[in-house]
Amino acid sequence: MKVEIAVNGEKTTDDVEPRLLLAHYLREVRGLKATNIGCDTSSCGACTVLVDGESVKSCTVLAVQADGRQVSTVEGLAGDDGLHPVQRAFQQEHALQCGFCTPGMVMASVGLLSENPHPTEQEIREGLEGNFCRCTGYHNIVRAVRRAAEGADA
C-alpha cells in the first residue's frame, strides 16, 4: 500500500506491506535506527515517537495508519542551534546509560512537556510510566524532565 508520511518534516512516499508496523517502517524503510524496539507487547515504550505531536508507541501503529500524518523521531529533534532542551537536560542530568530506552524516553518526555509544561515529580513519573529503563532507576530521568521544564521558563 502507498503511504505518504512526513517524517521529521520531510515528506516521503513509500509502498509498504499492510501489516508493517510504524516502528519497522521507520527503522527498515526510512533507515532511522534511533527508534528502538524493546518488547512485543507494547509495554516498554522504547519505540515512542510523536505522531502529529502526540507521543505514540510506534509498535502499536501500522505504517498505513500514519498515512498523511507527521511523525517525529529523536533524529529530527535537535535544531540548527544544537540539542533540544530535553536532549540537553538528559545529558546534563545523566539520564541515560546504555541508551536503548533513550530515544523513546526523550520523545515521551517531549510529548509530556507539550501537554503539561510544568509537571510535578509525580506527574513526570506517571507520564513516563509506560517507558521502561533498566539502567538509571528513573532518578535522573525525572530530574532531566524537571530541568527541561524549568529551562523552558527561563
Binding site: 524493546g38 546504555c98 513519573r125 533498566r134
Partner: protein
C-alpha cells in the same frame, strides 16, 4: 586542578541523544549486505521426548532459505554439544546445539529457520511441526535433589556442583537463642532493554566476523572458538553499542554460536535479533536460591554462629549459575565478626531456563541471607536491628581481614557507614513515629529496614591474580586512541577512560577516542562484569598514560636538551616543558610526529576489592490491602576513590532500583509443569517510574590499597544493599503484629497473608 573526582557529563551522550547508539540490529555494514534472518523454533514443553520434527511445510514457505535441526549438526562440518563451562561440574549434562531427543525447558531450541526477511521467519516458524511426548517436569529445586525426575538420565543425578559442608550442631550449644528459617531468593530476569542480537559473516579468507551484543568480546570469542572447533585466528568478534547486559550478556550464548555456524553452512551473512518474549525464556535468568539459615547468639546481641545451606536452581543446562553459591559462600558472613560459619550448597538442574550471572551474581544472595538473619535474630532477642548490627560489625582496625568464607577484605569502615545513614534519617525519630502509628492502630504502618553490606568486586582471574590491559596512543594530530579490554554497555567508559588520559596529558576529552570489543584490535581482555572495569581496566589506562608521560619526558629531554628531572607536563598546553621555563616546550602531538608514541600496559591487581555500605529503606504498608510502598531509601555506598561522581551515582541509582524491584515486585514464575508465566513484558513486573522514589545518596570514600586510583567497583552495590533493606522494612512494618518474615517479592498478597497468619485473622 585534576579532572579526576569531578562531575563530568558524558561525551558519548550527544550522539546517543540525536542519532541513537548503533546496536547490533542497527548495523549498516557492507559486509552484511544481503544478510538473511535467523528465527529459532523453541520448545513449548518444559520436559519431553521429541518423537518427530517435520520441517517440510516451513521449508516451502515464502522466503525460506534453509531450515536446520539436530540432524543437520551431525557429521563433517557439524556442531558438537556444548559442555558446561566449568570442568568440576557433573559430566553428562552437555547441551546439544539443537534439542535432539529431549527438550528440557520451554525455550529449548529445536530448529532454526533462515529467511529473506524477518516477518517471513515468524510465519515459517509456525509451520514447523514438532511432536513431543511430555515427561514429568521438575520445577522446584528442592524436588530436583531427589533425582526422581532426571534431566540427564546418563548423568544419574540432577546435582551439578556441591560445596560440601559439615553441619555440626554443637557450634550453637552455647547460644542463648537460635533461629532457623528457609528463605527464597527468587528467580529474576536480567531484562536488559536491548535483547540479544548478533550478525555473522564468513569472509573469503575463511574467517568469521561476528557482531554480538555482549559484555566481553574476548570471552565471547573463546566460547565461539570452542563451539565451532576452529582455530582462534579464524574468529573476530566485534561489539557494537550494547543496550545493557547486567551479567546476562557474558560470553557467547548458544544462539550466537548457531548463527555463526549457519552463516558458514549457507555461505551468506546472517542477522538475528530475538523478540522480548524469546528473551524472557531464552536469556539466562539470575538468583534463584533456596536458603536455609540458622543463626545463634546471646541475648546481649552478640552473634556466635551462622549456618547457610543453599540449594541453587541452575535451570536446564549448567552454566555459571551453578557456581553462584561459591560467591555466596565467600560473602556469607558479610560485615560481621562471626567466627563460626557453616556452609553447604547444592546446585541442581531443573526444567527451567538456565541461570547465570545477574547484577551481583551470588553476592546479593549472601547479603539477603545474612541481613534477614540479623533481623530475625534481633526480633527474637527483642533488640533494635541497628544496635544488633553495631554489636557485631567488624571494626575498622581489623583489615586486611580473612573471613571464614575465605575472602580477604581489603579495607572498610562499616560502623561509620551505618552511623551515617541512621544519622541522615534521624533513626530514633523514625522509630518514634512508628511507635505512634502502632499505638494508634493506623491502617498504614511504617517500616524501617536496614542493611549493612560488603561485596567482592574485580574478582580473580582463574589463572591467577586479576589483570586487565590498555593501550594509549597519542597521534601527531593531537588526538588519542585508547584500547581497553573492558567493554561498556551503559557505564560510560568513553568519558571515564578519557578523563584518566586527559588528567595526565591535558589533551581535551573530545580529542580522545576509546575503542573496545574488537578482538582483532584488542585480543586480550576480561570485559565488563563483577564491577571490575575501573579498578582494573581504568587502572591499566591510568598506568599506560603514566608510562607514556615518562617516555615523552625522556624523548623531550633529548630534544629540548634538558635534564629529564627538570621536565614537567603543562596540561594547559598538552606539552612537556622545562620547569620554570614555559617557553621551552614540546607538545605530545609534536613528539608523536617524530616517533610513534604508544604504550600498552597490563595491570595486575593484588586481589579482589571489597566495597561496602549501608542502606535504610522506609516503607509504608497498608495493613488492610497488604500493599507496601517504598517512601524513601538512603544509602551510603563506599567503593573507594570516586573518578566521576556523575557516573558513580548513576551506577548506584540503577542498582538500587533493581534491588528494590527484587524486594517488592519482580519474580520469574513457572507453573507446576514448567510453563513460564512471566515471559512477556506485559506479565513480568518490570519496575516503572511510579514504583520508586528518588534516592538519597550519601558519600564515603575508603580507598583500596590495591591500585593507584584507590578505586573499588560500584556496579553492583545497589542490588546488594537495597534488596535486604527494603525486604527488612516491609517485615518491620508489620512485625508488631507478630510477622517475622515475608518472602520476596513482598507482594500485597504475601504481606496480607503474613498478617493474617500472624494474627489469626484478627488484624
Amino acid at each position: 586542578m585534576s579532572i579526576l573526582g569531578t562531575r563530568v557529563v558524558r561525551t558519548e551522550d550527544p550522539l546517543f541523544l540525536t542519532r541513537g547508539a548503533t546496536y547490533t540490529d542497527d548495523l549498516v555494514d557492507e559486509r552484511l549486505r544481503g544478510a538473511a534472518y535467523v528465527t529459532f523454533v523453541r520448545s513449548p514443553i518444559a520436559h519431553g521426548r521429541i518423537t518427530s520434527i517435520d520441517t517440510s511445510a516451513a521449508a516451502g514457505a515464502p522466503g525460506v532459505v534453509a531450515v536446520f535441526t539436530a540432524a543437520d549438526t551431525e557429521g563433517d562440518g557439524g556442531l558438537s554439544p556444548l559442555p558446561p563451562p566449568l570442568p568440576m561440574f557433573t559430566k553428562g549434562m552437555d547441551r546439544p546445539p539443537f534439542a535432539k531427543d529431549t527438550v528440557r525447558f520451554v525455550g529449548d531450541i529445536i530448529a532454526a529457520i533462515v529467511t529473506e526477511d524477518r516477518y517471513q521467519g515468524e510465519d515459517a516458524a509456525e509451520l514447523v511441526d514438532v511432536d513431543i511426548d511430555p515427561l514429568p517436569a521438575v520445577v522446584d529445586p528442592r524436588k530436583a535433589l531427589d533425582d526422581e525426575v532426571l534431566l540427564f538420565p546418563e548423568a544419574g543425578t540432577n546435582t551439578i556442583f556441591t560445596i560440601p559442608g559439615e553441619f555440626d550442631d554443637s557450634v550453637f550449644d552455647d547460644c542463648d537463642v537460635v533461629v532457623t528459617r528457609e528463605i527464597v531468593n527468587q528467580r529474576l530476569a536480567a531484562a536488559p532493554m536491548e535483547v540479544r542480537a548478533s550478525a555473522a559473516v564468513w569472509g573469503e579468507d575463511g574467517r568469521l566476523t561476528t557482531w554480538i551484543s555482549n559484555q566481553a568480546a574476548q570471552m565471547a570469542k573463546a566460547a565461539l572458538v570452542a563451539a565451532l572447533a576452529v582455530d582462534a585466528d579464524k574468529v573476530r568478534v566485534i561489539t557494537p553499542d550494547t543496550g545493557g547486559g547486567f551479567g546476562a550478556k557474558i560470553g557467547a550464548d548458544l544462539e550466537v554460536c548457531l548463527v555463526a555456524w549457519i552463516a558458514g553452512k549457507i555461505g551468506r551473512p546472517l542477522r538475528w535479533v530475538e523478540t522480548r518474549s524469546e528473551n524472557l525464556v531464552g536469556m539466562t535468568h539470575g538468583r534463584d536460591q533456596v536458603q536455609t539459615i540458622k543463626i545463634g547468639g546471646n541475648r546481649d546481641g552478640k552473634v556466635l554462629a551462622y549456618r547457610l545451606d543453599v540449594i541453587q536452581d541452575s535451570g536446564a543446562y549448567p552454566l555459571f549459575g551453578a557456581l553462584l553459591p561459591a560467591l555466596t559462600f565467600s560473602m556469607a558472613t558479610g560485615v560481621y565478626a562471626i567466627d563460626r560459619l557453616q556452609f553447604r550448597s547444592r546446585s541442581v538442574a531443573t526444567n527451567k531456563t538456565s541461570v547465570a550471572a545477574y547484577r551481583g551474581a551470588g553476592r546479593p544472595e549472601a547479603a539477603a541471607a545474612i541481613e534477614r538473619a540479623m533481623d530475625l535474630f534481633a526480633a527474637e532477642i527483642g533488640m533494635d536491628p541497628v544496635e544488633v548490627r553495631h554489636r557485631n560489625l567488624l571494626p575498622p582496625e581489623v583489615f586486611p581481614y580473612k573471613t571464614k568464607g575465605g575472602s580477604l577484605y581489603d579495607s572498610g569502615d562499616y560502623a561509620a557507614a551505618l552511623k551515617m545513614v541512621t544519622d541522615e534519617v534521624d533513626y530514633p525519630k523514625l522509630r518514634q513515629e512508628q511507635a505512634e502509628r502502632r499505638a494508634r492502630g493506623d491502617v498504614v504502618q511504617l517500616g524501617i529496614g536496614v542493611s549493612v553490606y560488603v561485596e567482592v568486586t574485580g574478582g580473580g582471574d582463574e589463572s591467577g591474580a586479576p589483570k586487565e590491559n590498555a593501550t594509549v596512543e597519542v597521534h601527531p594530530d593531537g588526538t588519542v586512541t585508547v584500547l581497553t579490554g573492558t567493554s561498556p554497555h551503559g557505564q560510560g567508559h568513553q568519558t571515564a577512560w578519557s578523563m584518566l588520559v586527559s588528567d595526565q596529558l591535558g589533551i581535551p576529552l573530545d580529542r580522545i577516542t576509546v575503542k573496545y570489543g574488537d578482538t582483532d584490535l584488542i585480543p586480550e581482555g576480561g570485559g565488563t562484569m563483577g564491577s571490575r572495569s575501573l579498578q582494573q581496566g581504568g587502572v591499566a589506562v591510568h598506568e599506560a598514560t603514566t608510562e607514556l608521560v615518562q617516555i615523552a619526558k625522556a624523548r623531550a629531554a633529548e630534544l629540548l636538551e634538558a635534564n629529564v628531572d627538570d621536565l614537567v607536563v603543562d596540561t594547559d598546553r598538552a606539552a612537556i616543558t622545562v620547569a620554570g621555563v614555559p617557553t621551552t616546550a614540546i607538545t605530545f602531538a609534536q613528539l608523536a610526529e617524530k616517533e610513534k608514541l604508544s604504550v600498552r600496559k597490563v595491570f595486575t591487581a593484588p586481589g579482589a576489592t571489597f566495597p561496602f555500605g549501608a542502606h535504610i529503606a522506609i516503607v509504608e504498608v497498608d495493613t488492610e490491602s497488604g500493599k507496601a510502598e517504598l517512601r524513601r531509601i538512603v544509602t551510603v555506598d563506599d567503593a573507594g576513590t570516586i573518578l566521576n561522581p556523575l557516573l558513580f551515582d548513576g551506577q548506584r541509582h540503577g542498582g538500587i532500583a533493581q534491588g528494590v524491584a527484587q524486594a517488592l515486585y519482580e519474580e520469574v514464575l513457572y507453573d507446576d509443569d514448567g510453563n513460564p508465566l512471566t515471559s512477556t513484558f506485559a506479565a513480568y513486573p518490570f519496575l516503572s517510574a511510579t514504583e520508586v522514589p528518588s534516592f538519597d545518596l550519601l558519600r564515603m570514600q575508603t580507598p583500596t590499597p590495591y591500585n593507584p586510583l584507590g578505586a573499588k567497583g560500584i556496579g553492583e552495590a545497589g542490588t546488594i544493599g537495597a534488596t535486604p533493606a527494603v525486604q527488612n522494612a516491609v517485615v518491620d512494618a508489620v512485625s508488631h503484629l507478630g510477622v517475622r518474615h515475608i518472602e520476596m517479592p513482598t507482594t500485597p498478597e504475601r504481606v496480607w497473608t503474613a498478617i493474617q497468619d500472624a494474627t489469626g485473622g484478627q488484624a
